[in-house]
């Protein structure tokens, strides 16, 4: 049982390590000082007022959200048929195809970003929303594909046959039987895709302008020159938004995926 205690201690310390920077950011955003202090000196929400009155932040936030939503939607449209083809069909070049579609997961994003910039410049796909979107679709599609693939199993074929047998057409079977079977993978893939897009710097940084900026790139540019409580306030807002999103997802689908039951 002592080993159990050791694991427990390591685990709790690690959880603490994961929590600490977030606590610092949120704590720092509340300070009354003009510089970032942790623990905060005094408590105020004035830094939040400052950034919420700054239209550039609001705009970047909107662009990031729309970009992530669009990239996730398109990536599902691409990854779902690919997953069905890879999981359910035999064809030549299958291994090569899945390697191709999954490779953005492991290739340096900065290289993909640079490549898209250079290539995009030759076809006019540069420094606009479409250029951002194309890059994000390429890097988030593998997240959806990777979560979808393990969801397909041979047993589902008999469920689908049962559905056809009971009078459901191909589309009806797909929506009533296939999708519920792969739902967990679809949802978790979509979540990962959305987040990956929403927090991306490496790819966006090549195609953002002062007029078309995503929130992470804006933060990145700012943080390199100054660290003040208003940045902590922006960061805190993204943390709170993330926490709200996670709690919502947990409530909708349940995040108890590490349970051994």
């Amino acid at each position: 049982m002592t080993m159990r205690m050791v694991i427990r201690v390591i685990a709790l310390l690690t959880l603490g390590y994961l929590l600490l920077p977030l606590a610092v950011v949120i704590g720092g955003s509340l300070t009354r000082t003009k510089f970032l202090a942790f623990p905060p000196q005094g408590v105020t929400l004035e830094w939040y007022q400052v950034i919420l009155n700054d239209p550039t932040y609001i705009k970047s936030f909107g662009i990031s959200a729309i970009l992530a939503l669009a990239a996730t939607t398109i990536s599902i449209v691409i990854a779902l048929p690919a997953a069905i083809a890879i999981a359910r069909h035999e064809f030549r070049g299958k291994a090569a195809l899945s390697a191709l579609l999954l490779s953005p997961l492991v290739l340096p994003h900065i290289v993909i970003g640079a490549a898209l910039l250079q290539y995009g410049a030759s076809i006019g796909l540069v420094r606009n929303f479409a250029a951002l979107l194309v890059g994000h679709v390429v890097i988030v599609t593998p997240f959806v594909l990777r979560s979808l693939l393990p969801q397909f199993s041979p047993e589902q074929l008999s469920l689908e046959e049962a559905s056809r047998d009971l009078g459901a057409g191909a589309w009806s079977t797909f929506s009533h039987v296939t999708v519920p079977q792969i739902r967990a993978g679809l949802v978790s893939g979509a979540i990962f895709a959305f987040i990956t897009s929403f927090i991306n710097v490496e790819l966006s940084i090549f195609n953002t302008t002062s007029d078309l900026n995503t929130i992470p790139v804006q933060l990145f540019n700012y943080v390199q020159y100054s660290v003040d409580p208003s940045i902590a306030a922006v960061a805190s807002l993204t943390i709170l938004a993330a926490a709200a999103a996670i709690i919502l997802i947990d409530w909708l689908i349940g995040l108890d995926f590490l349970s051994d039951k």
């Binding site: 469920l159 056809r164 047998d165 009971l166 009078g167 459901a168 039987v177 519920p180």
Partner: protein, 337 residues
């Protein structure tokens, strides 16, 4: 009236011929079994009837309409799958209501019919449960309810009892037969278990190597097998060689004939032989007892013979003793050449 007509259906997978020119007419209200060892083509045939496979050639007609080109969802039949294929993300009631819903019934109507079907299999009280939490027998009944709820013309059952234990299997055999009688639906039952087929079927189609070897009433299949394969696959058989007219035994060069073990008697001496019976000298190799039944294994003229009796073995017949094996020639069934 013929509800299902299978006409000249063949199917190949690559070079392997899974079904070889199958023709079969099934009457309304019939309980018919497709019986054969694994790989005989029975499941392939069932899947072609259901529409999950397309026949290489030939036609499937239901009530006279050619359904060969229809997808499974447009065929007026339902299937009970081998592993039940219950939707794990739905409750029992939702599973059973699935068919009516797809047929366009309102939710209330579908639920009502689902409950009705569940009532028939005695599971209405488990309607809100998840099928995952149920025993094999219960899942089986849910699968059955789901398949009959739309009142199909034909019910296909793909080895539905094979996952159940022996006791439950016997009980389900009786229930299935009763249910079929109540519903009046035609049942096509795929099995490799001869006892199961014998116990339930009006007719049995014995299949081997993609062909129907014989289709007949259960008793006829047993008493008058068409081929050596049928005689061997169904029940136990002694194969003898006989002269076609008169049925006189010969050592070789005759025609194959079947004698069931219960029709072979063993006598201590030739005097005990009833008149008109045929006989041959034999040596007792082994005697075994199963319940009230005794099995006597003999060798005669280089052949292995098997006699079964439902009364004690007479004194004087022991392992190693020389005896007379005899039978009434009327019980001998000569196979078609």
């Amino acid at each position: 009236m013929t509800v299902l007509a299978i006409s000249n259906v063949s199917k190949s997978f690559g070079a392997y011929r899974a079904l070889d020119n199958i023709s079969l007419d099934i009457q309304e209200g019939e309980f018919i079994s497709l019986l054969g060892p694994s790989g005989c083509g029975k499941t392939t045939l069932l899947r072609i009837i259901a529409g999950f496979l397309t026949a290489g050639s030939g036609k499937i007609l239901i009530d006279g309409d050619d359904v060969s080109a229809l997808p499974p969802n447009r065929r007026p039949l339902n299937t009970v799958f081998q592993n039940y294929a219950l939707f794990p993300h739905m409750t029992v009631q939702q599973n059973v209501a699935y068919g009516p819903r797809r047929a366009g019934a309102s939710k209330a109507e579908a639920d009502r019919r689902a409950l009705e079907a569940l009532e028939m299999v005695g599971l209405a009280h488990l309607a809100p449960r998840s099928p995952r939490a149920m025993s094999g027998g219960q899942q089986q009944r849910v699968a059955l309810a789901r398949a009959i709820v739309n009142k199909p013309k034909l019910l296909l059952l793909d080895e539905p009892l094979s996952a159940l234990d022996l006791q439950l299997r016997k009980r389900m055999q009786i229930e299935l037969k009763q249910l079929q009688g109540r519903l009046g639906i035609t049942f096509i039952f795929v099995t490799h278990d001869q006892d199961e087929a014998m116990a339930m079927s009006d007719r049995i189609a014995v299949m081997s190597n993609g062909r129907i070897e014989q289709i007949d009433e259960a008793e006829h299949v047993y008493r008058r097998p068409n081929t050596r394969f049928v005689a061997d696959f169904i029940g136990e058989s002694n194969f003898l060689s006989v002269v076609p007219d008169g049925g006189r035994l010969v050592a070789e060069g005759g025609q194959d004939a079947v004698l069931r073990p219960e029709n072979l008697r063993v006598f201590a001496s030739a005097e005990e032989l009833p008149s008109g019976w045929q006989s041959l000298p034999a040596t007792v190799k082994a005697i075994t007892y199963v319940g009230g039944t005794s099995n006597i294994y003999l060798t005669a003229q280089g052949r292995e013979l098997h006699a079964r009796r439902y009364s004690p073995v007479p004194e004087g017949i022991t392992e190693g003793s020389t005896v007379i094996a005899g039978f009434d020639p009327a019980e001998l069934h000569v196979l078609r050449a």
